[in-house]
């Protein structure tokens, strides 16, 4: 299978094709060099593709048929994914400066905001990006719901999406503590105690989140590990499942598009 790549040599620079009978029938070294240069990109792709069959998978995933009536509402899902990618990238760079120890966390956050070059911008991207992601994920969920896209055969994708929503909320909760200012500290105390109000298991869940009966030395690093390793890993894996199912099952038409009759039936009526 060949992937069509745009030709790297513009038309004006291409050598004029030889006329019949012109030359001695053999290609000059210059022509061979130009030809192999022109095909270099295709050759590389072919070399990889022959060994991986990746182009088939890429075409299967990306060049899908979409129903009539597909519109801008269908972009919320990928918008949410790109919001997540933005969070991942800015988060990785914030982790280069952030120090998750209770005595140093606030100071390192202040350092990022006030002293690191573009630190305020990257931290702002991460902070406001989390809100953007929450808004987009709810818009995506609303689109799915109101277009009936959760129905057969897409139930599993709805369930995976709901788990992704919960994980995103866990990200918001655990990330809120990390600046370690008064607001994040007390908000986390409140959130932890809300967890504790669950009957029977609640008290133990609260102890698990705090790593002890009081907000202690390892609570912050525990939240940090959940925020930057545990939950993002789960989110990436579930996004992969989510996208696989989208490619496998296709998207739905909006509810206002009527199903077209098959041609056979239409001719019979006439």
């Amino acid at each position: 299978m060949k992937l069509k790549l745009p030709n790297p040599i513009p038309d004006q620079l291409r050598p004029r094709p030889r006329r019949p009978g012109e030359g001695n029938g053999r290609k000059s070294a210059k022509d061979i060099a130009i030809e192999s240069g022109r095909d270099a990109g295709i050759s590389v792709v072919d070399w990889v593709d022959e060994r991986t069959s990746v182009s088939g998978a890429a075409r299967w995933a990306m060049f899908r048929k979409v129903p009539k009536g597909t519109n801008w509402f269908y972009t919320f899902g990928s918008a949410t994914m790109f919001a997540f990618l933005s969070q991942a990238v800015t988060g990785v760079f914030l982790a280069m400066y952030y120090d998750p120890s209770p005595t140093r966390a606030y100071e390192s956050t202040r350092h990022i905001t006030n002293e690191v070059f573009l630190g305020e911008f990257v931290r702002g991207m991460h902070k406001w990006g989390s809100t953007v992601m929450m808004v987009l994920i709810f818009l995506h969920m609303g689109r799915t719901f109101f277009f009936g896209a959760y129905k057969y055969p897409r139930e599993i994708n709805w369930v995976v999406g709901v788990v992704l929503l919960v994980l995103t909320m866990v990200m918001s909760l655990t990330g809120y503590l990390l600046p370690f200012d008064q607001r994040s500290f007390w908000a986390t105390i409140v959130a932890d105690n809300i967890n504790g109000t669950g009957p029977l298991l609640g008290p133990y869940l609260a102890d698990f989140l705090r790593a002890g009966p009081e907000f202690g030395a390892t609570t912050l690093s525990r939240f940090y590990a959940i925020h930057m390793l545990l939950v993002p890993g789960a989110i990436v894996a579930l996004i992969a499942v989510h996208l696989y199912l989208v490619a496998k099952l296709g998207t739905t038409a909006p509810p206002w598009i009527k199903a077209e009759e098959p041609d056979e039936l239409r001719t019979e009526k006439v």
Binding site: T103, W186, G196, G202, Y204, R210, G212, A217
Partner: protein
């Protein structure tokens, strides 16, 4: 792979399997597959269980009771509270400190002294709604929470707002001429003592059963 053919006998010999032994009921292929799965499971458990225990460990770890001196007995009166700062968690800087309100036991308000840990009343500032810090306001003789409007009276009983039980207290004792504040305990609406619970967990009626004592509770004085 499991043998999918219909089998009449459990013995491999009866089923005409080549190389079968007398009395053999499990094919060698099945035994190998089974043991590979078992070893794989053991290897996964060898990694997974310690990691899980590592993360869950603090839930089962019993804390040590700590006692901290907050001043001489003469520093405290029985008609109002003195705020004192104690450390409930070390190694976390300011985040590990908390304010306690301490006063002398007042028989007219508190009734008879229950035991030797009751001579001084130390009220926790942890709001029993969701854990924000309450403040004692002398003019109204009330504890007020800034987060969601919880209000408590002079002895810490709820007089308004969302809190589900009176303010927690600390055991107190006098040692070496100093009042010491010890482990926290919770009280129900009749001020009966319970092992320390988190905020938001009522202790009246079935409350103590809904929110059981945690493994991390330190050994409390009897």
């Amino acid at each position: 792979m499991a043998d999918r053919r219909e089998t009449k006998s459990p013995y491999t010999e009866d089923r005409k399997i080549p190389g079968a032994f007398e009395g053999e009921t499990v094919t060698r292929r099945r035994l190998m597959v089974g043991s590979v799965h078992a070893f794989g499971g053991m290897a996964a458990a060898a990694i997974g269980l310690p990691a899980l225990g590592f993360a869950l460990g603090p839930v089962f770890e019993r804390q040590r009771a700590r006692w901290e001196a907050v001043g001489a007995p003469g520093d405290f009166v029985d008609y109002t509270y003195r705020p004192k700062v104690i450390t409930v968690e070390s190694n976390v800087g300011e985040a590990g400190k908390t304010t306690v309100y301490v006063r002398r036991h007042n028989p007219e308000i508190d009734g008879p002294v229950k035991d030797s840990y009751d001579n001084f009343v130390a009220i926790s500032t942890k709001c029993m709604h969701l854990g924000c810090p309450v403040r004692y306001i002398d003019a109204s003789q009330r504890f007020v929470c800034p987060c969601h409007g919880g209000v408590y009276d002079f002895v810490g009983k709820v007089s308004g707002g969302p809190p589900v039980r009176p303010l927690d207290r600390f055991y107190t004792r006098v040692r070496g001429g100093q009042v010491q504040v010890g482990p926290r305990y919770s009280v129900n609406s009749e001020l009966r003592r319970f092992s320390p619970r988190d905020p938001g967990q009522p202790l009246d009626g079935i409350g103590p059963y809904m929110y059981p004592r945690r493994f991390s509770t330190p050994e409390l004085p009897k």
